[in-house]
Subunit: 325 residues, 2 copies
């Protein structure tokens, strides 16, 4: 299969430069310096790429959707800033989080400013017939807020199921990927069938991507992955792995998982211990199967696209979802 | 002049009931209970009323713009929630602020949810030809964020002018009133001339309203006004009164105002002292003149509307801007 890395990197660089320009001539500095700080701090630019390749898949050009590509990235960065406040996170992309570098008030307001700028850029790409695009974006924002609230609920929940977890990541992570594909395809004049197919692709990609994120947190290569291994356990997060293990565990293992709930997480020297429980209950292999399922569903969703158009989407699944772990 | 109080109260009650319904069937509760808490806690519903009377002034019906009337109120409540976080405020409309009643994370997310819901409701009233309405709403949101940032800047500023202050309140307060009138008039099919006139009305009303708020904080009737007299002084806010007095003060008075800056505010037993300085420097009478000017400009902006249509707007100025202080 063709390697689309060069194309991806080129488009990412274009979007990087365009995002840097967003903040150039705006004032007051007290608002736009912090918003620029987070928006220019890198990231995969996955969401903007989805907008772009979805536009292209239905016959449009990358350049038709530059502004909405910027919009979904600004939106994503808003979620990061406010989530970091809620999670008391200190680092993001190797840098101090916004509320640490500045202060709480600045971070709250910077997040708000990013939402407003996101709408401003989205609207630049919208003609009268595209009011539906603004609705998609808005409904995605509502789902992201709901997903974040469900995530907070899970932290303290005494009862929880795998379905609760999947619903949470669908809203918190997948909804914006879906909106990105829908927006790109709609702006470039895609048919309903094409738009739905791309939306389904993004939904399944998002699910696979988030589940993999959970898995890599536990068994990933620390250097390659860039996060501390076992961070979710230390923070007491009820990821898929935990919930699935909890469903299947009995006896000693169940008691250990109950202790995790009571203590709101694990200690550093318990990471290995919990990883073994996840392994022994089959939660890890179940996660691998689920990731594989979602990845396959993402590709199948595009079955009516011709092979040439489909290639880059398949490449992206393989790039994001590494199948060799 | 006809008394429009009954009409205003009737519409306010309708909007109250509609806002209560917004949250009825939504889940998760962890998101929508707190958003409902603030959105249903009362308030003047001035912004929704401006949407409605602007629609009517150009020949539309109140019912044409119910959703966008809800939208501007939800938006206003978002600003209150996030501003209260930034200001560390404990009470709002006589109730605990959202971050006090719940917690910081809930308040940050509730504000975000309110923005998203505001767009959802605005979009319900928008047909394809109304994409400009969404732009107006978005640009107002950007101005409100900028205004809030300018307000925070003023707190620590060593240099400041009356113009800085007026620019700040234009963005923080007047911009959303302007957008409310523009949105109502555009949705009801107003002409450009009508829309501009209503926008100008709202701009001037907003300026008068905010300046009066500053003045009432210092010399208002505590029972009638519902806030502690001198609260701005205690919080060290550089209102119009302070900045104007600082421009005009000399000698002893100037030194006292410098002390206010150094101490980031006044003590409770100094309120009378500072009020006297504002009186003696003429800052209070200048504020009165300015409020009168803006109020008159608001009414003059509507000179091309016929007297019957204009009446309710004049009534509203008189209701909000009490001329007898």
């Amino acid at each position: 299969m063709k390697d689309y890395s060069k194309l991806y990197e080129k488009q990412r660089d274009i979007i990087e430069r365009k995002i840097a320009k967003v903040f150039e001539k705006l004032s007051p500095e007290s608002l736009y310096e912090p918003t620029g700080y987070i928006a220019n701090s890198g990231g995969k630019r996955l969401r903007s790429f989805l907008v772009q390749i979805s536009a292209k898949a239905v016959g449009g050009k990358f350049s038709r959707v530059y502004n909405s590509a910027i919009a979904v990235e600004l939106f994503h960065n808003f979620t990061l800033v406010h989530d970091d406040i809620m999670d008391n996170a200190e680092k993001r992309r190797g840098l101090p989080t916004l509320h640490v570098k500045y202060d709480l008030a600045t971070a709250v307001l910077a997040g708000d400013g990013l939402i407003a700028l996101a709408y401003r850029y989205l609207l630049k790409d919208c003609k009268a017939q595209h009011i539906d695009v603004v609705k998609d974006f808005t409904e995605a924002m509502i789902e992201v807020c709901e997903g974040q609230s469900l995530d907070k609920d899970l932290e303290t929940a005494k009862k929880f199921t795998v379905d609760d977890y999947l619903e949470m990541i669908r809203k918190k992570t997948a909804a914006l990927l879906q909106a990105s594909c829908e927006i790109g395809a709609k702006l470039a004049g895609g048919t309903k069938k094409e738009i739905n197919a791309l939306s389904k692709y993004a939904l399944n990609l998002g699910m696979a991507f988030q589940l993999q994120d959970d898995l890599l947190d536990l068994i990933g290569d620390e250097k390659k992955f860039g996060k501390k291994v076992g961070g979710d356990l230390l923070e007491g997060k009820k990821t898929y792995l935990f919930i699935r293990a909890y469903e299947k565990a009995k006896g000693k293992n169940k008691k250990a998982l109950d202790k995790f709930i009571r203590n709101n997480g694990a200690k550093k020297d318990e990471i290995e211990f919990y990883r073994n429980i996840f392994e022994n209950t089959g939660a890890i292999s179940d996660a691998r199967k689920l990731i594989e399922d979602y990845s396959n569903k993402a590709i199948i969703a595009l079955k009516n696209f011709d092979e040439k158009q489909k290639e880059i989407f398949v490449w992206l699944v393989n790039k994001l979802i590494k199948r060799q772990y």
